[in-house]
């Protein structure tokens, strides 16, 4: 235990004097969040505009209040020239053109050129139509409620960027730091020296592990702190604290992946390259940087076997979708199980010495 504390302290002091380390573990992923946050701000919730061609009862019968409410997500403009409206949809000026083709029959023209916008406008129009249906069947109208739903269903960029990028940051620091520490210690003969001291292998491995977990917690705090700034507007819901055990088990899982890579690597550079080769493709395939909803089917299938994907998805659930322990537990269990298996393998491959 004593060995664990003195090694952890030595490692923390040593790391904190390393500017590159500070940059890559905290600032670099945060830069991505700041950057993507700005780039995508309002991206997926981009206002949709629909051109109304001729009379459309669902739209025409709206009250002013309802129209204003709708206006927050969907702008409706009148353009009675169908050919002109279609041209505008085709060249992307507007997202859709809505026509009433008979009583109770609506036709929505949209462009397949931009799938995101097409899907968004379809969804929005559908909601409007369903709403009117409900009114027609005599159920109590609930405009406000429905528009609120519209907003919640359309995931804001910050809501997937935060868990996605945080997951990526945790994966990167997890895969890199623990493995790199052990490889560096081995190459600099510190492991050999420690082998001559009365310390157990567990203390030697636990120290970099604890430091990496601490880093993951700092990353989480910084990310949530920034994302919940009014400018980025992430609103934490109910059981958001579950992100902490998720991040910790994710970090352990990625450390064990790094440990495995580090068992084979002879130099820090080799370990670093191996870790990067693992983490970067995984981040893309897991949808850390952008949602996979419109990615090809095989990418979505591959994502299912990526621990990073599950980590980000579960974090998104607990951070901003109001889900609770049920959503987090299976992922935590899976991450820890994978970590345990990989750890056992890496410990078998562990070497104190190069030769």
């Amino acid at each position: 235990m004593k060995a664990f504390f003195s090694l952890s302290r030595a490692l923390l002091v040593s790391n904190s004097r390393d500017r590159t380390w500070l940059f890559f573990t905290v600032l670099f992923p945060l830069m991505f969040l700041l950057l993507f946050g700005v780039l995508f701000k309002g991206g997926a919730t981009a206002h949709s505009t629909v051109l109304q061609v001729g009379p459309v009862r669902v739209l025409d019968s709206m009250t002013a209040a309802q129209r204003a409410e709708l206006g927050r997500t969907l702008t409706v403009r009148r353009d009675d020239d169908l050919a002109d409206a279609l041209r505008k949809v085709r060249d992307g000026t507007d997202d859709g053109a809505l026509q009433q083709t008979g009583s109770g029959q609506l036709l929505l023209h949209f462009s397949a050129g931009d799938q995101t916008r097409a899907a968004t406008v379809q969804g929005l129009v559908q909601v409007v139509v369903q709403q009117t249906d409900q009114e027609a069947t005599g159920r109590p109208p609930a405009w406000t409620l429905t528009t609120a739903q519209v907003e919640d269903q359309s995931v804001k960029p910050i809501q997937y960027l935060t868990p996605g990028l945080l997951g990526w940051a945790v994966a990167t620091s997890g895969t890199f730091s623990a493995a790199l520490t052990l490889v560096a210690w081995r190459r600099k003969r510190i492991l050999r020296r420690l082998r001559l001291a009365p310390v157990g292998l567990s203390g030697v491995i636990a120290a970099p592990t604890a430091v990496t977990l601490l880093v993951a917690l700092v990353q989480t705090a910084v990310f949530l702190g920034v994302a919940t700034l009014p400018y980025y507007g992430l609103r934490l819901t109910g059981d958001w604290w579950l992100a902490v055990p998720l991040v910790l088990s994710g970090s352990l899982c990625f450390m064990s992946i790094g440990l495995l890579a580090g068992s084979f690597a002879k130099t820090e550079n080799a370990a670093q390259s191996a870790a990067q080769l693992i983490v970067l493709p995984m981040a893309f395939l897991s949808g850390s940087f952008f949602p996979l909803d419109y990615a090809p089917g095989w990418v979505q299938d591959v994502a299912q076997v990526m621990p990073l994907h599950h980590l980000a998805a579960a974090m998104q659930d607990v951070l901003s979708r109001g889900k609770g322990v049920d959503a987090a537990l299976p992922t935590i269990g899976g991450l820890l199980a994978l970590a345990a298996v990989l750890c056992v393998v890496s410990l078998r491959l562990f070497r104190w010495d190069d030769t």
């Binding site: 030595a10 050999r192 001559l196 009365p198």
Partner: protein, 305 residues
Amino acid sequence: MTGDDDAAITADGLRKRYGAVQAVDGVSLSVRRGEFFGLLGPNGAGKTTTLEILEGLREPDEGTATLLGERPWPRNPRLLPRIGVQLQASAFFERLTAREQLATFASLYGVGLRRAEEMLARVGLAEFAGTQAERLSGGQAQRLSIACALVHEPELVFLDEPTTGLDPQARRNLWDLLREINADGRTVVLTTHYLDEAEILCDRVAVMDHGRLLRTGAPAALIRELDAPTRISVPSGALSVDEARTVLGEGAQTTDDGVSLVFATRSPASVLALLGERGALNGLEVRGGTLEDVFLHLTGREYRE
């Protein structure tokens, strides 16, 4: 095999092979408690490998080692706090200061910080306590490394070529420190490829070459037993070589390299008498045998450092 109480180390028939290289080839030795023992040999002789086997860092292919009555292999937690090791290449934590390095090692051994401070002063690094290990000079780094090996007051200390790469002044300073460590009552095992160092510091040396111990004993005894000729030299030209050879005959081997006239002889009295007669004693130097001669005699070749 059980070591008697007096033995700090007993090794019996150690062998270690790396691929085609037989690094250690049947080494047996014993070191008494409190002794300053030197393992002397040129680079590649197998000194480090022998030391690593004794320290418990490597498993020998054959043979057994016993340290302080304990087996070093497999890793023996009872033995580890009783031995101190300075590795051939320094092993420091990156970006930690001298004080922090020492404090870390101290707490690994459960030793207080006060002791770490004392140790720092003892090796003369008090004023460099706040300097990061990477920025220490070669001699300072060796001192820190020795301090780390000693911080837990081990009974038995291994030092692998502690003075290699140091300038003469730093070497001499380190010798003083090593003598003090031994004077504290600790057993010291030192490897070196400097013959003079072994001769000056060690109670006993083992001369090693090609993985084998050629001879073990006190430096003076090894030299005496060699019965090497005494070398007497005077400045070149004090006497002609021919004249010297005529007078001394088989009694001395005479050579003149243009700088010195050198006599190698087993009857120095007759040479000195001759030089005295001719008034050629200015700049006289007399040198007995050295470990270098011992090495030459044992291996049949010049010692190469």
